[in-house]
Amino acid sequence: MKIKTTLLQFYRLAILLAIAWLIRSHHDRIRVQGGWPITVSEVKAFLPEAHRLKVDSGERKGLIVLDQERREIGYAVRTMPYCREIVGYSGPTDVLAVFDADDKGVGIALRHSYDTPSHVEDVKFEFLFMESWNGRSWDDIAEITDLNDAQIYAVSGATRTSEAVAYSVNHRVAMTRSEGAAGEPRHFGWRDCLLCGFLGGGLLFAFQKQKAIQRWRPLYSIATILGLGFWMGDLIAQSLLAGWAESRIPWAATPGLVIFVFAAFLVPWFTAQPLYCQFICPHGNLQRWFMKVIPARWKRPLPDDGKWIGRLVPVMLVMIVVAVSFLQLDFDLAGIEPFDAYVFNSAGVATLSVAVVGLLLSLFFPMAYCKFGCPTGWLLEFVRKRSGKPRFSDRDWIGLALLLLALGLYFTPLDRILG
């Protein structure tokens, strides 16, 4: 039974990590490929063995070319959008540059151009120019500062267009050097200390049940609402989690927040104690105070069917978050949760509405938002260790469905969905 419990716990964590990894990988692909993804067939023109392109999220931000046996046989980059400022006669040109396994250039191709079409055609068919990078190593190209010195000569009649092409290739290759990952300095400021303080308080009330300690809980609850909520505005939200999944976890910039969020997921995963939802969340605590406003006899219990339907809402919202992230939709995720309402000056109508309606509902249906509206709470509850007989519950099936949704969106080209 213990093994089954452990396996289920790892399954739940793995589901979340897999979805986060898919989102990250998808966004890495978009960052590297931009709006005009390089295709295998384009690379095949230079490396006929090319079978697959693997996104390299490292400093080169290009594509590793793999053959059928998944061996690395080369590397490919495109110059746009990084070189959008390098303009020829009337616009920039997107150039594909392909390197072999020894990091030596095997060819360039003009993919798409905003430049004058006839000039682009002239450059395209000037083979001497187009082959100027062949045989040169990545580092050699990166060091080119003067085209003539490097014996790369502009195309007569399309001088500016061809020079823009040449500078774009050089700039794209050299860019990886200047951008070298100089690590961001770590900074543990007062906000990080405060967040760790709130976390410490939550842990204390979650695990130390002595009366002498618990009597301070109302004070802590008010402190979370006023301090963590209204003053700092540091609530765990879908917009925050999606942002981290899409780009990176800000270990250096806000280490306190990272520790805070990790603890919110890992403490319930290890201990079954809903640390964040039950003790720390300012909105949860505010609802607990609201519950006390109206006499108990006025409260109405929801029928079972109502509860069943209500529990679908957070799942639907998590699905929306996944879809918005993969499809890069112009949709503010902050609007599906009430947490941004704590930052008055930047709160939108949607988030304020969710906050107010959620609080009003909690007057009659205790903790209504937490139970039937909170997608972040659903995720935290999803990984939480359960007591009792271990079984693959509805929640676990829903987790699997979410993973399938993420896989579907990951493997379906955006063009097919968005036309």
Binding site: T116, S118, I309, V324, L418
Partner: protein, 137 residues
């Protein structure tokens, strides 16, 4: 054991929740699809404008709405493709009632600016020109 009425209520509830999800996502997805179509139109028109410029050595002299510009470029043989209006579908031409693209040039017709405004406001969503915004990426 769940009663039949319960199943019906829950199925109805599930449908309602799914409908809400579709309702929430419908507009952003439609907008994203429209933006992709607009990008395609802009690229075709921009390429045609460049062809026109090579031949005439100036850009078209007067400001025009998108559909009008497309017709003009087609009549002069610089744009061969039949473009679709990204807002209402159908052939994109001067007769379209909904046309958020506009073309402008300077007094000497040496530069151009293509702008696309939001369907619901005057906010510029896309700008492609010969001086500062020379690409959509």
């Amino acid at each position: 054991m769940i009663a039949g009425t319960s199943i019906a209520i829950r199925a109805l509830g599930l449908l309602c929740v799914a409908a809400v999800a579709v309702g929430i996502l419908f507009n952003p997805v439609a907008e994203a699809r429209r933006e992709r179509r607009i990008e395609q139109v802009l690229l075709s028109v921009q390429e045609a404008l460049q062809r026109y410029h090579v031949q005439e050595e100036i850009y078209p002299r007067r400001a025009m709405a998108g559909g009008e510009l497309i017709e003009f470029l087609q009549e002069n043989g610089h744009l061969e493709d039949q473009l679709m209006n990204p807002w209402v579908g159908g052939v994109y031409n001067g007769g379209n009632k909904v046309d958020r693209m506009s073309y402008e040039t300077d007094g000497l017709a040496e530069s151009y600016e293509l702008t696309v405004r939001s369907l619901h406001s005057d906010e510029v969503k896309f700008r492609l020109d010969s001086t500062e915004n020379q690409s959509l990426e």
